[in-house]
């Protein structure tokens, strides 16, 4: 028996789209098998089929050589299949332990045997070095820890076949390192892993084999060792991909955004999360705020965009003080913002794509007349952005945002914000969850925005992106700006030292 899981000739259709078209995937026992494909290629769908969330129209699934029918996640559990979803499925006002046990509770006389459960969780967490705090609420812990909770949830159910759907998109480089280590340990224990990721170097690092999907179709499976990163990218996109962004030198002009001694206090934690930061962003440059997640970048952006109150300091846009402006006033004054959390801020998931594309502009002349929406214009607008930004979905403008693939949701937001054509574009992790082709495209767009005379403020955790795209870099550590760099005169190591707080330049 060679394969532990075989998905043979799977076809799964959604309204208007064949998400999987005769796809075959074979997983060997004890291997890490990468699944690669563009946004909307059907990776999450294929895995949801294996996990019992969707029933395929055609095809068979074999587990340990036997044909099985998986109609719901409980069936999947029975066969030892566990999944960490692209967007976590945790109950936010439950504790870590409660989330792990949920749906798999062990009871005695109808009472939860909670102590036993906690003990099992702690054992697992020690064994696999998955550090979690069992009694914290999910809403209080970091994304990285939430992911460890999801992994523990699978292990708690004794899963042997582990599916990771884009686990690294939301992690810091350090956390990614850890996760890679954990996955290797898991395979040593005899577990088999399917890993979805858009980051080819991660595949290089841990995966044994890699299967590629393109527009729902199966392209092929390769041995990772013998295949170059470029080759994999080409298999997936169908053309060659440029990994290095070519751009001309920036020609900074007048200042668009000026931040003066900005401080933001978190009243719950009783601490300043942004401390006395000052900088300027000029027309025609991409200024990047780099740093490890959780060092105040989020709050800095929220303060600039009006989502958080400024404790002290000033924000000037084109010379006007906008510190006290509301979000709407800031939007109108010329700020657009690709938010960090696409499901929380970026989209109304139950609105259609076209509605999401006018989320901040529905009240403009163009889209309304005396308070009545102009549906024809809205449709035209959506069609234009869908074509320009290659947003793929089942039903075009009327697709509900919820049913779109993660990467295409992101593309929709990027399209909307760039299209708003403002003087300042704030992009927080704009390429999170995008495939290499789409990343290339978004980077080109950011540079085009810069060249069109806008100020671009890029917040990114990815050092590649930081070094490749930006014209100037400010590193944030614990809420402070600890150094400013020219990307051409610095490197990953130097930035890393500043980001980790072991070095700082005195301004």
């Amino acid at each position: 028996m060679e394969y532990i899981v075989e998905m043979l000739n799977i076809t799964k259709e959604f309204p208007g789209i064949k998400a999987n078209d005769n796809v075959t995937l074979q997983l060997k026992k004890g291997e890490i098998h990468a699944l690669l494909g563009e946004n909307g290629a059907g990776k999450s769908t294929l895995m949801s089929v294996l996990f019992g969330l969707y029933t395929p129209e055609e095809g068979t699934i074999k587990v340990r050589g036997e044909e099985v029918v998986i109609t719901n996640p409980n069936d999947a559990n029975v066969h030892g299949i566990g999944m960490v979803h692209q967007h976590f499925k945790l109950v936010h006002n439950f504790t870590v332990a409660e989330n792990i046990v949920l749906g798999y509770e062990d009871t005695k006389f109808g009472f939860l045997k909670f102590d036993d459960a906690v003990k099992k969780i702690n054992d697992l967490s020690d064994k696999y070095k998955l550090k979690v705090d069992t009694s914290s609420l999910i809403s209080d812990i970091s994304v990285g820890m939430q992911q460890r909770v999801e992994i523990l949830k699978m292990l708690y159910r004794d899963a042997e076949i582990l599916i990771f759907d884009e686990p690294t998109a939301v992690l810091t480089p350090q956390e990614i390192e850890e996760l890679m280590g954990i996955m290797k340990d898991l395979t040593k224990e005899g577990k088999s892993i399917i890993l979805i990721t858009h980051k080819l170097n991660e595949i290089k690092q841990v995966a044994d084999r890699c299967s590629v999907l393109r527009k729902g179709k199966y392209i092929g499976t390769v041995e990772v060792e013998n295949t170059s990163v470029e080759k994999m990218a080409e298999m997936m996109v169908g053309r060659e991909v440029n990994f290095v962004v070519d751009k001309e030198d920036a020609k900074p002009k007048d200042t668009v955004l000026e931040v003066k001694n900005l401080t933001v206090r978190n009243h719950r934690l009783l601490k300043d999360v942004v401390k006395d930061i000052s900088f300027e962003a000029k027309r025609g440059e991409i200024l990047c705020i780099a740093g490890i997640e959780g060092n105040g970048q989020t709050q800095l952006v929220e303060a600039i965009t009006g989502l958080t109150h400024v404790t002290s300091g000033n924000i000037l846009l084109k010379g006007n003080d906008i510190t006290k402006f509301s979000v709407r006033e800031k939007n109108n004054a010329g700020v657009s913002h690709i938010p960090e959390d696409r499901h929380k801020h970026g989209l109304v998931l139950d609105y259609s794509l076209e509605e999401n594309l006018i989320l901040q502009s529905y009240f403009e002349e163009k889209f309304q007349e005396r308070g009545f929406l102009r549906f024809d214009e809205i449709r035209q607008h959506a069609k234009k952005l869908i074509a320009n930004f290659d947003i793929r979905s089942g039903k075009g403008p009327t697709t509900s945002a919820r049913s779109m693939s993660g990467g295409n949701q992101q593309k929709a937001i990027v399209a909307r914000e760039i299209d708003r054509d403002t003087d300042l574009l704030i992009a927080v992790q704009p390429t999170r969850g995008l495939d290499v082709g789409a990343i290339e495209y978004i980077h080109k767009q950011l540079i085009a925005q810069r060249d069109a005379g806008k100020a671009v403020l890029l917040i990114s955790l990815e050092l590649d992106e930081v070094l490749n795209v930006s014209d100037r870099i400010i590193v944030m550590y614990e809420g402070e700006a600890v150094g400013e760099f020219d990307p051409k005169k610095t490197n990953e190591n130097e930035l890393g030292l500043y980001m980790a707080g072991s070095k700082r330049s005195e301004a």
Partner: protein, 487 residues
């Protein structure tokens, strides 16, 4: 530009012009004159609405003409036919045929509007079958209860319930509509709030406040009638809406600015409304002789609009017109306006709404105020009727709670609520005639409640409908593939 011309420079002036000029050209008080006059006006008005809003309710000239005819059949012709029973019957017959034909026409149109070939993705079909199936289940449960309490008469009784609003022809139909009006409006109140992410369990309190204010004005403000007899009713209704709106805005304000759950605060406001009501009635409009409020002045009664000819001996009045207008108004607000776009966005994802620059706090207050206003309107229309009065007792009026069930049954859509409310009125009429048999009124209430609450399970039933339809879709698809391979 062309659109602008059509809308602003085309229809509205045309409407006003015709309204003013026509009476000078021909006598609008003769039957033909009156019919022509109203037909033309309604056609112009609805063509305008249809073109302006591009809405499935009114979307082409056929609709506009149809509504004009319906308008005549309901409001104009009975006025002329009132002394001739044969003509009235003919009119009723035409009304029934037109209504049925139109509902089928609209339904088919809506069913066909789905772009997907697959039945399971046809939202209208799924919604509709879900509701129909759950109503059938509800009715069957009603039958079971009847079998338990009164086995010998259960089937006879069940037949009476099924006949509902048709038990006594147009009389009971009129009463069906009359009883449906308040329920449609409270259902609308709950549904509107729900669509914007709020649970308005306080419709009872808002209803009570509206009712009190309406009666108060109906009893005390006779001086308005001296200015213009119609004005009295309008003023009473207006202030009832304001009162309900304030009562709704309070929990909205607490929710938006102090993060107080609207469910808790509006339940408390139900009680507060109840006690205030007792207090104020006793203080201002208490008829001690009968232990109830004074009768309202006849000038403040809801106008009948000729409906009493069509539905003889029934209690029907113009309230249904107000209810339908409100349904359409809220439908348009929710689906066609930037205001509705904001309200729904705030309800669906508060953080995203904030990110988009919408003022979610103010929107929450506005939404609750509107919901409250509609419930207040329900209170006014219930009590601005001759012979209706409030009793100063400490009981929470039930209409608000029925509204919750109606909102569920109507799937929180204004148009759905309209039909759900009529269904409720229909059952209530059935229950009324059930008293002819040996059923106690309490049992009848239980039966109706069971039917309504089970019918409201349609969301749950929909899941099964989708499953069933999917299976059919897959079969169809397979046969298509086979056919295709022959070629």
């Amino acid at each position: 530009m062309i659109n602008k011309f059509k809308y602003e420079f085309g229809f509205l002036p045309l409407f006003i012009l015709f309204a003013l000029v026509a009476p000078l050209i021909f006598d609008v008080n003769t039957s033909t004159g009156n019919i022509i006059y109203s037909t033309v006006l309604v056609v112009i008005l609805f063509s305008y609405i249809g073109l302006r809003f591009k809405d499935w309710v009114v979307n082409n000239i056929i609709d506009a003409v149809f509504y004009a005819l319906l308008f005549n059949v309901i409001f104009i012709l009975p006025g002329f036919f009132k002394d001739n029973e044969t003509l009235l019957s003919a009119d009723r017959f035409v009304l029934i045929v037109m209504t049925i034909a139109f509902i089928i026409y609209k339904l088919v149109g809506k069913l066909k509007a789905s772009k997907s070939q697959r039945l399971s993705e046809n939202k209208t079909l799924v919604d509709l079958s879900g509701s129909v199936i759950s109503i059938i289940i509800g009715l069957l449960f009603g039958l079971v209860i009847m079998l338990i309490f009164n086995p010998s008469q259960a089937f006879e009784g069940f037949w009476i319930i099924l006949q509902g609003g048709f038990n006594e022809g147009f009389r009971s139909l009129g009463n069906t509509i009359y009883f449906a009006v308040p329920i449609i409006l409270t259902g609308l109140s709950v549904a509107f709030a729900f669509r914007t992410g709020l649970f308005n369990i306080g419709a009872s309190g808002q209803f009570t406040m509206g009712a009190f204010v309406a009666i108060f004005i109906g009893v005390k403000w006779g001086f308005i009638a001296d200015i213009n007899p119609l004005l009295h009713w309008f003023v009473a209704v207006f202030f009832a809406i304001i009162a309900g709106g304030i009562w709704g805005a309070i929990p909205g304000y607490l929710k938006a600015f102090n993060n107080v759950n609207e469910v808790v605060s509006s339940i408390m406001l139900n009680y507060i409304a109840m006690y205030i009501n007792v207090l104020l009635i006793k203080k201002y409009i208490y008829n001690t002789a009968y232990n109830r409020t004074y009768d309202i002045l006849s000038s403040s009664e809801t106008p009948g609009l000729n409906l009493q000819h069509l539905f003889p001996n029934s209690s029907i009045n113009g309230g249904i017109v107000v209810a339908i207008l409100t349904v359409y108004l809220l439908h348009v607000i929710l689906n066609k306006t930037t205001f509705g776009f904001e309200l729904k966005a705030v309800g669906l994802n508060k953080s995203a709404a904030k990110y988009a620059g919408m003022n979610s706090k103010v929107n929450i207050v506005k939404s609750m105020a509107i919901a409250g206003g509609v419930a207040g309107l329900a209170g006014a229309l219930t009590y601005l009727v001759a012979g209706k009065f409030l009793i100063p007792e400490t009981v929470i009026l039930s209409q608000g709670f029925t509204g919750i069930a109606i909102s569920l049954l109507g799937l929180s859509s204004p148009i759905g609520v309209l039909f759900a409310g009529l269904f409720f009125g229909y059952l209530q009429q059935g229950g009324y005639y059930l008293q002819l048999l040996d059923f106690k009124p309490e049992i009848i209430d239980i039966i109706i409640a069971v039917i309504i609450y089970l019918s409201a399970l349609s969301l749950f039933i929909q899941k099964f409908v989708i499953k069933g339809l999917k299976r059919r879709d897959d079969k169809n698809q397979q046969s298509e593939v086979i056919e295709g391979s022959d070629v």
